[in-house]
Symmetry: C2
Subunit: 578 residues, 2 copies
């Protein structure tokens, strides 16, 4: 199974067939995002309907996935996004990437769609089986994971969509089983709707019996991986993430005046203490949860956690800053228990918490419910979105849909995708990322918060214009490269500050494949990924005019700094000068 080179698996959902293919020579050096974006670019008509037969859904582990490299188990999913209309790559932790890599699968390409019906896909060392699925249709993600493990064994990984993906909601995500049978998500861009459009409820991946993956130079790999692991483990931000999770950012971004509050009308949230990482840490300890929790085998950062309810019962994990911000500060809800309840249900439904939280913020501005009314938010999730009522459809299709439905002009989206938890007026570097990302507003595409706020990889004044474009450009290039390795993006803080780590990554790739890439080669790969993605978008009809923030960021000063978004179109467009 695991002989090098790995193979491509193509599944045709109209014919209900699958086949293994040798990896084309030009794809051999690609993995993760580089590979999914290349496949989408090469094989998907940029003008196709994202939910129609011509779109393809591509999964690819990273170049280092299933090696002993720490935090290397990210799975990339790619397609034309039904939310943005652009190319989309979204990566997730969990167990699937390592299972696919161990089975010698470099990419899984899912094509076409059935006339009707729902299917499950089982992948193991013997091949691929496509089965009719009835029992699990309508089921939430937690039940799917349990049932698939019951049927095929606890060692199975599961990639699944919830009712939101079945209903083809534009905020639907794809969920992946973590090592504890909980969920991680390919969150953004609505790829859950693409999986739903192909009639696939779940993919079970059983790595049992697969050999360990082939590493060309084991000693060299071990040497480099130790350098890398040590560097990651010792970084201060890594340690903070372990202790407080990503939610450590609530107070940091609040203090910076860049925490979008009340549908992006304020930069600070009065109720920030109630939802901060410090509060979460205290509650977890009081209630017997886990402060540290890994989403994948080999994770040494452990930013996840187990958050229990008041009675000490499990409620959620992977309870992230951006989710807490979206349903919390942006909606003026200051109670972590309500947010955990909402997070749990959105995970079960398979809906992006960021998109949905921002959608609620716009709905609150429209008067559909009151700012701060977290109970009503949970009710709408459970009784409207879950059941696909008209209101559920409006909110489940994201912030831009809510804005259109209710004629609201303060709608924080770029290319139809909700802007996440960092206000671009007060933290300008991230605004460049939102505007220029090939995938709509996305903080992970080029996380300038590192240098704008956290002092990682330099210091760039968040309120000034100077240096922001270069900062975003460098980070977007590096991110595209890292997203191709399978490494967790949270290794990037250490990589930015410790000059030994990037060479160590390149040494690991070389040791894995017997290649002799340089650091420059890997950065060139990052550039190539961005340019490939952009060319897809241009063929789909996107132009520089789409690389703009909504009007209100330029006309409404954000308290407390009174900052506005003040980059001209011409300035933004210089991002692409590389």
């Amino acid at each position: 199974m695991a002989a090098f080179p790995d193979r491509i698996v193509r599944i045709n959902m109209k014919e209900l067939t699958s086949r293994f293919e040798e990896t084309p020579a030009e794809w051999l050096g690609l993995g993760g995002r580089a590979l999914t974006s290349q496949v989408v670019f090469s094989e998907v008509d940029p003008l196709c309907h994202p939910l129609g037969p011509k779109n393809k859904l591509v999964f690819a582990p990273g170049l280092l996935t299933a090696t002993p490299a720490v935090n290397s188990g990210r799975l990339s999913a790619g397609a034309k996004s039904p939310l943005t209309g652009t190319i989309k790559e979204t990566n997730s932790g969990g167990t699937a990437a390592q299972a696919l890599a161990r089975l010698g699968i470099k990419a899984l390409i899912i094509e076409d769609q059935p006339a009707q019906g729902w299917y499950g896909i089982i992948i193991n060392k013997d091949g691929v089986e496509i089965i009719d699925e009835k029992d699990l249709i309508g089921a939430g993600n937690f039940k799917v994971v349990e049932e698939v493990m019951d049927r095929y064994g606890k060692q199975c990984s599961v990639v699944t969509i919830g009712p939101a993906g079945e209903m083809k909601m534009l905020a639907a995500n794809i969920s992946v089983k973590d090592p504890d049978g909980k969920l991680r998500s390919h969150g953004r861009g609505g790829l859950g709707a693409v999986m739903g459009s192909k009639g696939i409820k779940f993919i079970a991946i059983d790595p049992e019996g697969a050999d360990d993956i082939h590493i060309a130079d084991q000693d060299a790999f071990t040497r480099a991986s130790k350098v890398f692991a040590k560097g990651v483990a010792e970084h201060d931000i890594t340690k903070a993430l372990a202790e407080y999770g990503t939610d450590v950012l609530i107070n940091i971004i609040h203090n910076a005046g860049g925490l979008p509050t009340r549908n992006f009308t304020q930069g600070q949230f009065q109720g920030h203490d109630g939802i901060a990482g410090e509060t979460m840490n205290k509650l977890i300890k009081e209630r017997g949860g886990k402060v540290r929790h890994n989403c994948q085998k080999g994770c040494i950062i452990m930013c996840s956690q187990v958050f229990n309810d008041q009675h000490g019962r499990y409620k959620t994990s992977g309870f992230e800053y951006e989710s807490i911000w979206a349903m919390g500060a942006d909606c003026c809800v200051d109670n972590l228990d309500i947010l955990a309840e909402a997070d749990h249900w959105l995970d079960d439904l398979g809906l992006d918490t960021v998109e949905t939280g921002v959608a609620f913020g716009v709905a609150m501005e429209a008067g559909v419910l009151d700012f701060g009314d977290g109970r009503q938010m949970v009710r709408i999730i459970k009784e409207e979105i879950a059941k696909g009522t008209p209101l559920g459809r409006i909110i489940g299709n994201g912030a831009a849909t809510v804005g259109r439905a209710y004629g609201i002009t303060r709608v924080p989206v770029v290319k139809n995708q909700a802007i996440p938890a960092y206000d671009p007026r007060a933290i300008k570097g991230i605004g460049i990322t939102y505007a220029t990302s090939t995938m709509g507003a996305d903080h992970t595409a080029g996380y300038t918060i590192a240098a704008n706020i956290l002092g990682s990889g330099g210091n760039v004044d968040p309120l000034a214009k100077e240096g922001q474009i270069e900062l975003s450009r460098n980070l977007q290039i590096a991110t595209a490269a890292i997203d191709s390795t399978g490494l967790c993006l949270f290794t990037a803080f250490a990589i930015l500050d410790d000059e030994r780590l990037l060479p160590a990554i390149v040494e690991m790739i070389n040791a894995r494949f017997g290649t002799d890439l340089t650091v420059d080669d890997v950065m060139e790969l990052g550039k190539r990924v961005l340019k490939t993605e952009r060319e897809f978008n241009q063929r789909a009809g996107f132009t520089s005019e789409d690389d703009r923030l909504p009007e209100f960021f330029s006309t409404e000063p954000l308290p407390p700094h009174g900052a506005v978004w003040d980059f001209s179109g011409e300035e933004i467009d210089t991002f692409w000068d590389f």
Copy 2:
């Protein structure tokens, strides 16, 4: 008042002020669509939010409006469309254009928006008054027209929005009082939402005391206008429109196999007889309605009618083919009385019947209601759309919104606007118009049905590719010119077939203004209008890739001809070679 040249009125809805301005020299030769599109191009930021303060709503009578030229009373409304994101001009019959022209108003430019509140605008020979409005908020268009006439006199014209425009629904239209106090509509592109976003419930235009408009050479005008009137009156299509209304087309387009049925899955409708113009004609005569009815003073075509219910009570007028098709054939509803009921309520709510009918067709495909269930359609209009419930918001925001909400891929829209009553697979010329129109799918932009089906202006095989691009191009250019004169587009059939009429129009314009334009000059004006509109769209981020029909037209053959849409992108783009 009526001294030449006419003036521009600017109204600022933030300051609640108005001022009269001399017409800039470069706008003197423009009217109707040429003027509204030029103002929008010159003064509106192409990237602005269409419902925000930077958009402008422009009204302009045509160059010949309020002259004795027959059928010259069209009013153009222009803005950036909230439905399509493109520039938009939509023109309407009724009484407003003539009232504005008699008051010496060449264009009304409405800018900015109030922080809150609703207003009425009264325009008369003494100037402009902006008043707070409370009583009529939430009222339907029929009540607005009645109340405005009660307050300001029956001679007043009224431009109004219904609840749909107040709710800023993307299918909201702007209605205009006709000579009987009934309604005509600026139907497409959602400009009612723009009027709503500016806090304007109605504009009352009182022409009392205005002089007749100035005509530079009265004798020349009279000579030319007689030639024009005679030519229009004697044309066969003019006569058919008078007898059966535009609904005469149901059987014609059904017989051609191009009547989109059951959400564009069939080209013929089994129930066509029930909704045909011949049936309408019979019912009108049985029930004491009027077969012929004019929407404006000076109309000699009289395509409108008065359609009474079973008890002989007034139900609707301006009961058009495209409305009857959309809610009829496309939704498989074969009962004219139900369609008249729906038409009446949509007129009262101020919602585009075409967009809404197509939205219902998509909703039927999604299973929201059953194909053929006209009663449920009327219920949804009265109880959901009128009240702004979530389902009402989804449908009232048009076909594309319904498609997104329910994950439907067979959504017949171009640039987000619903494709009207002629299937582009079976009548290919109109497909070129839908694809290339600067305003999204719109049959009136270049009505190739004339030569494809009706034998007016030549004969071009509707099922073949040959000649369609040239046909659409010539018609779109001519239409842009005609839309600038204030002439009703239904004069075009006669103009296409009688070579004396276009020169007569040019002579009327010259006699009105003392100019010496040629026929070529007027055609050049049409070209300039199209290119100006296209440049606005390009600055707003539109590209050739937006000039495409939805995927399903190319992949799903349409019965009975089995025709598919088979123009390549490159072929379509040659449209702009002029």
